[in-house]
């Protein structure tokens, strides 16, 4: 695999006009900028779930794992724990990350796992042809709910905040620069960074349903309470960084500076340790 190109040769099968193109574009643009900041391209590792969003895995020229529906979030945590030097990022759909993979998402936030999660929020299970997701507004008439869904949706940002995530932002695929900047910030952030990207699936939702409603947060909250208020008050069309704070990350609490791959413990060291334990018995 030659990482010099940012995109693979795989034929793109997204619908023309799909919001996923912007996310792909933003990630591609963010990589050289991260390189300027000293992050090696080969150290960026991704996983993706299953869904239209996940096809980004086929198109982005980065190493990683095309995982199972919902499991990308657990797989990426395994990769991070095994080699904390890597910058890890997972691409999840709103069904993938907030439904089938919901528990993994919550626990990644709870642990403040040092990773980035991009949630492609298009309000449908797009790949399986448009059923409602855990984030879809009440009343959506999809093929599994011809009379309209009657469940209230999750507020993804609220759940992540409460679960323990430390970088929480909302972007829109129609705001490419903001999206790119936020992706860079999220990848640089040490801890669980979560970007909800409002991404119209044009086969089910028109851009006009979103375009004119978007607005940016006037003041970015500076602490948990403010973030909580801002996330609850501002509906899903408000963009910006709602929370950005510091907290110990999982792998450092687990083993400090250690890295099981790059700092392998030699047999000699293991024996020394064992001897110490035995001598103290």
């Amino acid at each position: 695999m030659d990482l010099n190109k940012s995109e693979t040769d795989v034929e793109n099968t997204w619908c023309p006009g799909c919001g996923n193109f912007a996310i792909l574009q933003a990630v591609k643009k963010s990589i050289p900028k991260l390189e300027e900041k000293g992050i090696k391209r080969s150290d960026i590792v991704m996983t993706a779930g299953i869904g239209c969003h996940a096809k980004i895995f086929d198109y982005l020229n980065l190493s990683g794992v095309y995982s199972l529906h919902g499991r990308d979030i657990a797989t990426i945590q395994g990769i991070k724990i095994a080699n904390p030097d890597l910058k890890v990022i997972t691409f999840s759909g709103d069904g993938n990350g907030m439904g089938e993979g919901f528990a993994h998402t919550m626990f990644a936030a709870k642990r403040n796992m040092d990773m980035t999660m991009v949630l492609h929020h298009n309000d449908v299970y797009a790949l399986t042809t448009g059923q409602f997701t855990p984030l879809t507004e009440k009343g959506w008439k999809g093929p599994s709910t011809p009379k309209g869904s009657f469940e209230d949706p999750f507020n993804a940002l609220l759940m992540i905040l409460i679960a323990g995530g430390t970088f929480i932002a909302r972007c829109y695929s129609g705001e490419l620069n903001h999206l790119t900047e936020t992706i860079i910030k999220a990848i640089e952030h040490k801890g669980f960074s979560f970007i909800e990207v409002i991404q119209p699936a044009v086969s089910y939702h028109a851009w006009t349903e979103y375009k004119d409603k978007m607005e940016f947060l006037e003041n970015e909250p500076s602490n948990f309470e403010e973030a909580l208020l801002a996330i609850r008050k501002n509906h899903k069309f408000t963009l910006g960084t709602f929370y950005n704070s510091k907290k110990p990350v999982y792998h450092e609490q687990l083993y400090g500076e250690h890295n099981p791959i790059t700092k392998k413990v030699t047999q000699e060291k293991r024996i020394q340790k064992l001897e110490k334990i035995l001598n103290n018995l």
Binding site: I50, Y66, L68, F102, T128, T129, Q131, K147
Partner: protein, 417 residues
């Protein structure tokens, strides 16, 4: 006719997809609780059922839309224990994810019917016909059937409720058919008169009740408690095996009765033979490839070859006795799998079971384990004719083909560098 009666479908023929036939069967069976999660190629089964339920065409049916397949099976288990006729459908990864609850459903003896639009297992990602998904659930205590036609999907679901809900059986069942090949193509399907279906099927649980398993406020009971090794755990397990073996007879009876009422026959229910009686070379095959194989057999018969085939309709319980009889009829018998059993004697699930069935029977028929159509790889009639000709050559020369991989013929396999 009253308006309510209008809702109830009359016998009619509709040109529909295999998935839609499955949905119609659930409707005809008057299932009371459906729970499902979409997955390709199953999705249109649950979409059609949503349409029926939300459109008022299935009065009395509740549809629970949950967040994962694990929750699907868990909620269907709850609904079944609470005393309703239940239905769900899935494919590949969805079935794998259900696995924990699948064991639970059989262990507690619930007559849940689940259709599987079969697809290959990931990775690499694959959504096309391959029975590895349902075969993976082999040792769970569920019965499993393969369908070869659209009509058979509809019919087999009805027959399955009949067998599953028999008080002497009370076990769940999978009804599997090839993803896309049957799920997404359209064929005429006869949808039966509701009164006839009602006559064929047992009364709904709440109309009759299943004393063994129901949670009934008048008769408190617990399910799933811890049993110490000295308790009845072994006996529960033995009973599942015992019941599965005895269910063969129930399947035969249900198939016969189905034929009597609806006029369509499926062999003895467990297997269906095609030109086997005077054949000297035969093949055991299942799913949609069996339907196409009939054409290959017809063509070869026209060319003068005495060939036949046996369609395997049930995988669990495995029809050992029928397989022995089939093997006795021919000199060479191919066993064609579309699904894998890695590390087994042949690599093919059914061929391994066929070999095991013939142990100690003294039968000298030569068996050739075969594989084709894995992950939806196309298999055409010409190819199937060649497969049979390989068997004919084996009969003529007495020798095995020289391109076997660990004793098995992997037909249509590409060269791997």
């Amino acid at each position: 006719m009253s308006k309510a009666k209008e809702f109830v479908q009359k016998k009619e023929t509709k040109i529909i997809k295999g998935n839609v036939a499955a949905a119609y069967a659930a409707k005809s069976a008057r299932v009371q609780v459906i729970s499902a999660y979409p997955i390709t190629p199953q999705t249109t089964v649950v979409e059609k059922l949503s349409e029926f339920v939300d459109g008022g065409l299935m009065p009395g049916t509740q549809y629970i839309r949950v967040e994962s397949e694990h929750s699907v099976m868990a909620s269907v288990i709850g609904a079944s224990i609470a005393g309703t006729r239940t239905f769900t459908a899935t494919s590949g990864q969805g079935l794998f994810y259900m696995n924990e609850m699948i064991h639970w459903a059989a262990g507690t003896r619930l007559p849940i019917v689940t259709t599987i639009a079969s697809r290959g297992a990931a990775p690499p990602w694959n959504i096309w016909a391959d029975f590895s998904d349902v075969i993976n659930a082999r040792d769970t205590g569920w019965m499993s059937a393969f369908c070869a036609t659209h009509q058979e999907i509809y019919d087999e679901i009805l027959m399955s409720y009949k067998v599953c809900e028999d008080h002497d059986v009370l076990l769940p069942k999978f009804v599997a058919y090839g993803g896309f090949i049957l799920s997404h193509t359209s064929k005429p399907v006869i949808l039966e008169d509701q009164d006839l279906v009602d006559q064929y099927l047992p009364p709904l649980p709440d109309e009759k009740g299943w004393p063994q398993i129901f949670i009934d406020p008048d008769r408190p009971m617990m399910h799933g408690n811890l049993i110490m090794p000295s308790g009845f755990y072994s006996e529960f397990r033995m009973k599942i095996q015992d019941t599965l073996m005895k269910s063969k007879e129930k399947i035969k009876v249900a198939t016969k009765e189905f034929e009597k009422i609806f006029g369509r026959s499926y062999g003895n229910g467990l297997v269906e033979e095609y030109h086997m009686d005077d054949a000297d070379v035969g093949i055991i095959i299942y799913g949609d490839l069996a339907l196409q194989m009939e054409q290959a057999i017809d063509d070869l018969r026209e060319e003068g070859y005495k060939v036949g085939m046996t369609k395997l309709r049930h995988y669990r319980p495995f029809p050992t006795e029928d397989i022995i009889e089939v093997a006795k009829k021919v000199e060479v018998l191919g066993v064609m799998d579309r699904g894998t059993a890695f590390g087994s004697p042949t690599g093919g699930p059914v061929s391994s079971d066929v070999l095991a069935s013939l142990y100690n029977t003294g039968i000298t028929t030569k068996i050739l384990p075969m594989m084709a159509g894995i992950g939806g790889r196309e298999v055409n009639v010409e190819q199937q004719k060649e497969e049979i000709k390989t068997l004919i050559k084996m009969k003529e020369t007495g020798e095995l083909p020289d391109n076997l991989i660990h004793g098995t013929l992997w037909d249509g396999i590409l060269e791997v560098k």
